[in-house]
C-alpha cells in the first residue's frame, strides 16, 4: 500500500474545520451550511474508509496499511499507524456512525453550531487516530485528544447538570490515563534496559521481558485506565451522568465508540503487552464482568429515565464484551469484537431514538409517556426493532454477539457462562418493561396527543442502522471473516501463560467431565 490511506482517513474530518471556522453562524442558512460541511466531511471520511474494506486482506495476521515515520527521533517516538481485523471494524464503525450522528444534530443543536461541529470533527479524528496508532506515545496523544471535544460537548451543549457530569467524566478518565502514562514510560524503560534502544513502538514493545511484579503492576495501571472507559463495575458511575447530561450526539458517540476504546485498549495494549499480568487478574476481571452484566441490567430496570436506562444497559452489554475477551476462546473473542460493533449500532440507535422523542417533548421520564404507539407508529416500530437487537433476539446482531461470547465462555468457565446468560433474561425484562410503559396502554398524557412521528431526515439516519442490525444478524460471517486471523493471533499472543490462568477458573461441571462422560471431541 503506497498511499498513506490511514492518514487520509484519520485526518479527513479535519479538512472540514477551516471551512466551518470561516463561515458566519448568525443566520439559519449559515448554520445549515456549517452542518452541511461537517456532514460532507464525515461522509467523505466514510467513503474513504470504505476503500479500506476492499484493500484489507483478511488472511494477514499482522498489521496492514502500515505507515511508519520518525516523529520525535530523540525519544524513539514514531508516527506509526496500522490496522488489523479488530481495528478495521472499529474504524469503519466510527466513520459510519459519525455522519449519522451529525445528521441527528440538525435541529437539536442550535446554539454555537460552529463550535459544536468542529468538536465533532476533531473528535472523529482523535477516535480514528486512537484505533490506528501503533506507537504508544502517538496513541496516548490521540487518547487524550479525545477527551477535550467530548468534555466540551457534554459541558457546553449538555443538560442541567452538565458541568458536574463533564468534570466527572474528565477526572475519571484523566486519573486512569495518567497512571497509564507512568507505566508506558516504565515499559519503555524496561525495553531499553533489555534491548538498548529507546522506542515507543508497540510492535517492538510486545514481548518485552519485565519482572513479574512490574508486569502485574503495569497491567493493573493500563487495565484501570481502560476499565474506566469500558466502563467496568465499580468504575461505571461517570457513565450514567455523562449520558444523561450529554446531548444526543454526545451520547451516541460516547456509547457507540468511546466505550470501545476501553475494550480495544485491553485487546491491543493491556493484554498482549502484559500477558502475565493479564492472566493474574483474569479471575477478577471475569467476576467484575459478570457483576457488570447483572448489576447493569438490574439497575437499568429501575431507572425512571429512558436515557439512564440505556446508559446502564451499556454497562451490562460491555460486561459481555469483557467476558468474551477474557475467556480467550475463539468464539468468545470474536463474539466480543462483534458485540463491540453491535453495541455501537444498537445502543447508538437507542440513544438516537431517545433524542428524537426528547427533541419533541423535552423529557425523558418514562412516566411522562405511555400509549404513544398509537400516535407515533413509525417511531414505535423502529424503537421496537432496535429493542429486539438490544435484547439479543435471533436474526438480529445482538444475538450473534451474545451467543458467540456465551458459547465461548461456556467452554472455559461454565459458572461464568451460566451467570452471564441470566443477563439475557434481565435484558428482556428491563427493555420490554420500558417499552410497555412508554408505548403501550392508554394515551393518558394530553401532551403526547399531538406528538409528531419521525420525519424523513430521522428515518434516513435510522435506516442504515436497521439494515446493519439484520445484516449482522443474518450473515455475521461477512464480519467474522475479516477477524479470524487477527483473533487467532491475539489469542496466541495472550495465551502464553494459560496454565496459570486456568487454575483460577472454577468449573461447576468439573466432576461431570472427570467421570469420562464428556468426550473431548469439540475443537475450538
Amino acid at each position: 500500500m503506497n498511499a498513506p490511506i490511514l492518514t487520509y482517513v484519520t485526518f479527513l474530518p479535519l479538512f472540514g474545520v477551516p471551512f466551518i471556522l470561516a463561515l458566519p453562524q448568525n443566520s439559519d442558512n449559515g448554520k445549515n451550511l456549517i452542518r452541511g460541511i461537517a456532514l460532507v466531511a464525515s461522509i467523505i471520511t466514510f467513503l474513504a474508509s470504505l476503500r479500506l474494506y476492499f484493500a484489507f486482506d483478511p488472511g494477514v495476521a499482522g498489521f496492514q496499511f502500515i505507515e511508519d515515520h520518525p516523529w520525535i527521533s530523540s525519544y524513539g517516538i514514531r508516527y506509526h499507524l496500522g490496522m488489523d481485523g479488530l481495528s478495521f471494524w472499529l474504524v469503519l464503525l466510527t466513520t459510519f456512525l459519525t455522519p449519522l450522528t451529525i445528521l441527528s444534530t440538525w435541529r437539536a443543536i442550535d446554539k454555537r453550531v460552529k463550535e459544536f461541529q468542529v468538536s465533532m470533527l476533531v473528535l472523529e479524528t482523535a477516535m480514528l487516530g486512537t484505533f490506528v496508532a501503533l506507537d504508544l506515545f502517538l496513541f496516548y496523544v490521540f487518547w487524550e485528544l479525545m477527551l477535550i471535544p467530548m468534555y466540551l460537548i457534554i459541558g457546553v451543549w449538555g443538560g442541567e447538570r452538565r458541568i458536574y457530569a463533564a468534570i466527572k467524566f474528565f477526572l475519571y478518565t484523566a486519573v486512569g490515563s495518567l497512571l497509564m502514562l507512568v507505566c508506558i514510560i516504565g515499559l519503555v524503560y524496561f525495553h531499553k534496559e533489555h534491548s538498548g534502544t529507546l522506542t515507543f513502538d508497540l510492535l517492538k514493545l510486545y514481548g518485552t521481558p519485565i519482572p513479574r511484579m512490574y508486569e502485574i503492576l503495569f497491567f493493573a495501571a493500563f487495565a484501570l485506565a481502560f476499565a474506566i472507559k469500558v466502563p467496568m463495575f465499580p468504575l461505571h458511575t461517570w457513565l450514567p451522568d455523562a449520558h444523561v447530561e450529554a446531548p444526543t450526539a454526545g451520547s451516541v458517540i460516547l456509547a457507540g465508540i468511546l466505550l470501545k476504546m476501553g475494550t480495544y485498549g485491553f485487546f491491543r495494549f493491556a493484554m498482549p503487552l502484559f500477558p502475565q499480568g493479564s492472566a493474574y487478574f483474569t479471575p477478577l476481571i471475569i467476576v467484575l464482568s459478570i457483576i457488570g452484566i447483572i448489576y447493569g441490567a438490574l439497575v437499568a430496570m429501575v431507572q425512571p429515565d429512558i436515557k439512564k436506562l440505556v446508559a446502564y444497559s451499556s454497562v451490562s452489554h460491555l460486561g459481555y464484551c469483557m467476558l468474551g475477551l477474557y475467556v480467550l476462546t475463539r468464539q468468545g473473542v470474536e463474539g466480543s469484537v462483534l458485540q463491540m460493533i453491535n453495541h455501537g449500532i444498537s445502543t447508538g440507535a437507542l440513544f438516537l431514538l431517545v433524542g428524537i422523542i426528547y427533541e419533541r417533548r423535552h423529557t425523558r421520564l418514562i412516566k411522562e409517556y405511555g400509549g404513544i404507539a398509537r400516535v407515533v407508529p413509525v417511531y414505535s416500530t423502529i424503537f421496537f426493532i432496535v429493542t429486539l437487537s438490544s435484547i439479543g433476539f435471533p436474526t438480529t446482531n445482538g444475538f450473534i454477539g451474545e451467543f458467540l461470547i456465551l458459547i465461548g465462555a461456556f467452554k472455559v468457565n461454565k459458572a461464568a457462562a451460566v451467570l452471564a446468560a441470566s443477563g439475557v433474561i434481565l435484558g428482556a425484562v428491563y427493555m420490554l418493561w420500558m417499552v410497555q410503559r412508554v408505548f403501550y396502554g392508554e394515551l393518558k398524557n394530553p401532551k403526547n396527543i399531538s406528538l409528531k412521528d419521525m420525519n424523513l431526515r430521522e428515518v434516513v439516519y435510522m435506516l442504515p442502522l436497521l439494515v446493519l442490525i439484520f445484516w449482522i444478524g443474518l450473515y455475521p460471517n461477512f464480519f467474522l471473516n475479516k477477524m479470524h486471523v487477527s483473533v487467532d493471533h491475539f489469542i496466541s499472543q495472550v495465551k502464553v501463560e494459560k496454565i496459570q490462568q486456568e487454575s483460577h477458573v472454577a468449573t461447576i461441571f468439573a466432576p461431570l467431565e472427570e467421570s469420562g462422560a464428556t468426550v473431548p471431541t469439540a475443537k475450538e
Partner: protein, 659 residues
Amino acid sequence: MDKYIFLIPLFPLIGFLINGLFGKKLGKGVISFIGCATIGFSFIVALFIWKALLALDPGHRLFTETLWQWIGCGGLKVGVSFLIDPLSMVMILVVTGVGFLIHVYSTGYMYEDESYWRYFSYLNMFVFFMAMLVLGGNYLVMFVGWEGVGLASYLLIGFWYQGIDNAIAGKKAFVVNRIGDFGFVLGMFLMFWTFGSLSYMDVFPKALELFEHGSMHLNAPVIVAICLLLFVGATGKSAQIPLYIWLPDAMAGPTPVSALIHAATMVTAGVYMVARTNVLYTLAPTALLVVASIAAATAFFAATMGVLQNDIKKVLAYSTVSQLGYMFIGVGVTAYWAGIFHLMTHAFFKACLFLCSGSVIHAMGGDQDMRNMGGLAKKMPITYITMLAATLAISGLPPFAGFFSKDEILGKAFAFPFYPVAGKIIWFIGTVGAGITAFYMFRLIFMTFHGEFRGTEEQRHHLHESPPNMTVPLIILGTLSLVGGWLGVPELIGRLTGHIPNFLEGFLEPVFEHSSNIVAQYASHAHVSEPVEWTLMTTSVVVAVIGICLAYYIYMVHGRDLPGKLAEKYAFHYQVIYNKYYVDEIYEFLVVLPIYYFSLFLWKVIDGFFIDGIGVNGPAWLVKRTSAGARLVQNGYVQTYGAFMLVGLVTIVCFFIYR
C-alpha cells in the same frame, strides 16, 4: 424436492413483509388474500413435499437443504439449513394446514378491527417462525424459530395494546419464555462442547456412536444435563410446571391467536423438540423420568384449575396446559410417536374448541363469562355441533380423535420401559386427569350451550351464528376431530375392525428407530398383555363417562344452585383452586418483588451512596475541604501573615534552643 423446502417459510415471510410494510394502505380484501394465500401456498408446497417423501423408501425419507453458512467461527459452523423427515413433515402439515384454516377464520373474526393489516402481518410472521422451528436442520435454527414464535406471541397477546393488561400479559409471556430459553441455550452450549456440532445430522449419530463404543453409558451425566436443560426451554414454551403461568394470561390476545399459537402449534414446540431429540432422551432415562413426572403433575393440576374457571377461554387455556402434559407424558415414556399423535389430534380439536369459543364470544359481543351464557345451542347450531364434536374428542370417548391418542399415551405410560412403577403412577394420575378433563369440558358445554340464557337482553338480541368464513373452518376442524384419530389406530382395535393399519406410527417409525432399539435392548421389557390393554382402555372410557355424568348431574340436573352450594361447603378448597393455587402471587412475592427492591437498593445505595457518594464525590469533597482550609492561610491580610511569621520564627528559635 429438497430445493423447495425454503418456500414453506418464504411465503409467510413475504406475506409478513407486504402486510407489515404496506398493509396500512391496502384494502382489507387484499390483506386477507395475502395473509391467507401465503399460508395456503406453504401448505400446498408441504403437500408436494409429502408426496415426494412418501415416494421414497421408508428408511430414506429425508430431505435437507442449506441456504447459506450462517455462523462460522472456529469449530462452530452453523448453516441456515432445513431438514424434512416424517417428524417435521407431520409438524409442518399441521402448522400450515391448521394455520391456514385459522387465517381464513380470522378474516371473519377480525374484520372489524382497525389494525387488520397488523394482525395479519403478525400472524404470517408467526407461521414463518414456526416453520423455521420445525424445519430447522440444527438446534440454532430451531432456536431462531423458538424465540421468533415467542416474539409473534408477544405481539399478538398484546395486540390490543391500548389495554395495558394485554401488554403486560404479552411481556409476561416473553419474559417467562426467556427464562426457559436460558435453559435451552445452555443445553445447546453443553451439546456443542460435547458433540462438536449443533446439527441433528451430526449430534445424534455421534451420540449413538459414543454409546455403542461404550465411551458413553446409559444415563451419562452430560446427556442427562443436556436433556434437562433443553427441557427447561420446553417448560417455558410448552407451559409446563413451573413456567406454565404465562399461558392463561396469554388469552388476552384475539381468540384465533389463542387457537393457532396458544393451543394448536407454538405451545407444542416443546413436545416436538423432545421428540426431535429422542435419541438423546432415550440415552438419558433419568431425564425421561423428570419429563414424564412433570408432565403428569402438569396434566393433573392444570385440569383441576380448569374446573372452576368461568371465563370460557381460561377453561380452554388450562385444558391446553393439561393436554400438553399428556403429550409430554407420551414423549417422556419413550412413546414419541404417541406424543406427536396427540399433538396432532389436539391441534385439531383444540383449535376447533378455541375457534368455537371465538364464535361464541363474537355472538356474545365480546363477553367471555360463561355465567352469562346458556342455551346458545339453538342460536348457533353449527358452532354447537362442532364444539360438541371437539369436546367428545378431548374427553377421550371412542371413536373420536382424542380417544386414540390419549389412550395410546396412557397405555404406553403404564408400560414405561425404564421405570415400571413410576409408569403405573403416571398412568393413574393421567387417567384421573382424563376424568377431570371430561368433567370440565362438559361443564363448559352445559354452561354455554344448554339451559337458559343468562346474559342481558341486548346480548340476547345480538346472538347469531357466525358467517361462513368462520363456520367452514369450524366444520373442517370438527370433522378432523372426529376422524383424525383413525390415522393412528392402535393395533388392538385395528385387528378388531379388520386390519386398519396404523398409518402414523408406521410413517414416524424411522425417526424413532434408534430409540426403539435402545429401549428394546436395555429396558426391562414391560410388555402389556392383551387383556390388560383392554382393561386400561375400558377404564379410561369409564372414567371419562363418569366425568361427563358428574358434569351433567351438577350443571344440568341441579342447575344453578348445586355449584354454589358445593362452593360454600368446600370454601377453602374452592378459593385455593379458583385462585389457581396462588402460584402467580407466590412468584410475585418470592421472585419479582425481591428482585425489584434489590435493584432499587443497588441503584440508590451501592451506586448512589457507596460508589458515587463515598468513592467518587468523597475524595472530591475531601479535596474541596482541604483547599478551603488551606485557603485561609492565604487570605491577603498583612496581620495574618505577620502572625504566621511570628509563630514560625518562635518555633525555629525554640527548636535551636532546646534541641
